[in-house]
Amino acid sequence: MPAPSHAEQYSGYPRLAETLRFGMWIFLASETLLFAGLFALYASYRAMFRADFTQAIQHNTLAYGTVNMYVLLTSSFTVALSLATLRRNRPRVTLALLLATAALGGVFLVVKALEYAEHVRNGALPGPFYHWQALPTFGANRFFTMYWLMTGLHALHVMAGVVVVLWLARRTHRRRYTAARHATFEMGTLYWHLVDVMWLFLWPILYLA
């Protein structure tokens, strides 16, 4: 929590907490626009190569993507529970749930790495490096170029999210949060939700249809 000397402009802690939450939502809006650029590129290329995209999606590694969808949904649940337990003043449970969340983030990254390895074996690489014999089309090339960019940017956010969650765990361990004062904790959990919600949008457009 910010030291009191930085918070003179607030009438009290509740106002500061409300402002921090508000600021976090604006930041998340900004992050959303970062991804939106890639979603727009994806939509444009998909409109240019409709059939090729459908075919490439059918050849994509659905099992990996779906496992990861469940992994992140579970992490979403654990991180939400961690906030709920913090509010009920159960710091040890909170700590365990945070560590579980970070671990699930780690699982996601491991599965993602295995999946990337399979793409590399197939030759489903971006742009000029693309050489998958089974799908020799411009559209498939575009699909996998976008696939690498979008999942890559998302994976970077997962890594950042794991760091944030571990930082929350460290501060929880040191009992820096209380049931009444935990605005930065809530901000961290909001960030993790950005990470898992984003996958809920990536998963259908990269694996399902």
Partner: protein, 558 residues
């Protein structure tokens, strides 16, 4: 920090004005030493640090511009080769857009004035504010490092496919701009949160001073458009190094998609540059006319209108890039909405002067210059938003002249107006009105002489960014170069006047212009916490029917 030394000097002079006992020291004297500046979280001190760096970048960008103008004196080589010229116009654009214009008014005057106009002690997130300064400086160093390592020759727009294959140092330049964008977002989040959450008791949304309204509108654009620029530049940077062919037609890509992403930011970005300028004008005009704006709501709402419609106009940069006639028509029509909102403001300012008790002063002179240049720039903007005309003027000096009329004639003129208008607020001293008036006039004349010939050049067919040209264009280029030196001299004179006044200007008193806007309710320069107590601001910041004393008594009831 020479800045702190200059400012601290009067203190040592011991002019005893603050010797009234329990008056807290002003923010400049609240703490001393370089460390107290570099680690400050006071929005006013951070604003001053931005001020120093932004002005240095203004000078650097200006030197690049003068170098370009010197080269264009003759139809062939004058002082530099074509490759150097290409790098020079890129550096001019990158420096002026991202290191000067974008942060100029928001990070300096927005930072200083916005919390005061809201009656707050500081911004919502003071440490984020300090961090945004250091992120800005890092972005600037990365970009400048890239420039010193050779710079790039793509123009500030980094268009693909050329930017993929350019042999120059593209990566450090786009990385630096990416980092500058992070600083912009931090600033924007801070301003939005402050405006929503930290208004003093009594300030409803209809009582927010108009400058703060425009900074608020600007912040929305900063937060929502800048990430898209960051993405577009990251993609170009990655493509330049790894050749992923993201926009490469050889592997199915489409270079026009880069233009969409780039202009989705870069068109709203021109409103990041002009909205705060309009905010400055909206403070200067009521103050110098001693009259409330003829319509507060027209200015406030047209600000939001520009901020929102600005997101839907980017396609007008691409009329000749292969978008459909229907798309172009829609983008053209939406672009003209911006002109409607701008015209609302212009008419409101002019109507505010009508029957006002006008007092002439340097900021008002800058407003007169702004009015002419901005309307001229805006009207030519409507012209180029028309498809049929744009096909003739696209990529010519006509477009160069148009956006310099808005960005330099509008934003820089308003920046100088703000520098004079808030000078007594920031430093507690007055500048020489005589030199101020002289420099304001010279800025106007130098500007017109620089850029008006460029309209003629463009209409005659002179393409932008060209190194050589037919001899019949030379006289106009010579006029333009002469104007550029007059403009540069005038700006140096204006800033020199302020610099000299920092130390030798007479004491200003707390409210030399007799303004009713809330920032003038405190001492000038203000104490660290801005106001002696939390003010109660349940009245309009433009209520000239009540005297200063009455306003003061209402704001700080005993």
């Amino acid at each position: 920090m020479t800045m702190s030394e200059v400012i601290a000097a009067p203190e040592r002079g011991g002019d005893g004005a603050a010797a009234t006992g329990d008056v807290p020291p002003d923010y400049l004297r609240a703490a001393s030493g370089v460390r107290s500046w570099l680690t400050t979280t006071d929005h006013k001190r951070i604003a001053l640090m931005f001020y120093v760096v932004v002005l240095v970048m203004f000078m650097v960008g200006g030197l690049f511009a003068l170098a370009l103008r010197v080269e264009l004196l003759t139809p062939r080589r004058t002082v530099m080769d074509a490759m150097t010229y290409n790098r020079m116009f890129t550096l001019h654009g990158v420096t002026m857009v991202w290191m000067f214009l974008i942060p100029a008014i928001p990070a300096v005057f927005g930072n200083f004035i916005l919390p005061m106009q809201l009656g707050a002690k500081d911004l919502a997130f003071p440490r984020l504010n300090l961090a945004s300064f250091y992120v800005y400086v890092s972005g600037l160093l990365i970009t400048l490092g890239g420039m010193l390592a050779g710079g790039t020759d793509t123009g500030w727009t980094f268009y693909t496919p050329y930017s993929d294959s350019s042999p120059t140092r593209l990566l450090p330049v786009v990385s630096g701009v990416f980092v500058l964008g992070i600083s912009t977002i931090m600033t924007g989040i801070n301003f939005i949160a402050t405006t929503h959450m930290l208004r003093a008791p009594g300030i409803t949304w209809r009582r927010i001073p108009l400058f703060t309204w425009t900074i608020y509108g600007t912040s929305i654009i900063m937060v929502l458009a800048t990430p898209v620029l960051g993405l577009a530049l990251a993609l170009v940077g990655v493509d330049h190094v790894l050749h992923l062919g993201i926009f490469d037609p050889a592997v199915g890509g489409d270079p026009v998609l880069f233009q969409h992403l780039f202009w989705f930011y870069s068109h709203p970005a021109v409103y990041i540059m002009i909205l705060p300028a309009m905010g400055v004008i909206s403070e200067v005009v009521p103050t110098f006319a001693q009259r409330r704006p003829s319509s507060y709501m027209a200015i406030a709402m047209s600000t939001l209108g520009i901020a929102l419609v600005g997101f839907l106009t980017w396609g007008h940069h691409m009329f000749v890039a292969g978008i459909s006639e229907l798309d172009a028509g829609i983008f053209g029509a939406l672009s003209m909405f911006v002109a409607v909102f701008s015209a609302l403001k212009v008419f409101t300012w002019v109507a505010t002067l009508y029957k006002g008790r006008i007092r002439l002063g340097t900021p008002l002179l800058y407003f007169f210059g702004f009015l002419f240049l901005f309307v001229f720039g805006g009207m030519t903007g409507v012209a180029v938003a028309t498809q049929s005309l744009d096909i003739h003027w696209h990529d010519t000096y006509f477009v160069v002249a148009h956006f310099h009329f808005v960005m330099v004639g509008g934003s820089v003129t308003a920046f100088l107006a703000a520098a004079h208008y808030w000078f007594p607020k920031m430093f507690g001293r007055r500048y020489s009105e005589r030199v101020g008036a002289l420099s304001a006039t010279a800025v106007f004349l130098g500007f017109v002489l620089t850029f008006f010939p460029q309209f003629l050049l463009g209409n005659m067919g002179m393409p932008r960014r060209y190194y050589s040209y037919p001899e019949r264009f030379q006289w106009l280029h010579v006029l333009s170069t002469g104007g550029a030196f007059l403009l540069a001299g005038a700006i140096v004179l204006a800033l020199g006047n302020l610099l000299v006044s920092l130390r030798w200007g007479p004491k200003a008193g707390s409210n030399p212009w007799g303004s009713r806007s809330f920032e003038w309710l405190s001492a000038s320069p203000p104490p660290k916490n801005n106001f002696p107590a939390v003010p109660v601001l349940d009245f309009s910041p433009y209520d000239y029917t009540q005297s200063e004393e009455e306003a003061h008594a209402r704001a700080f009831p005993r």
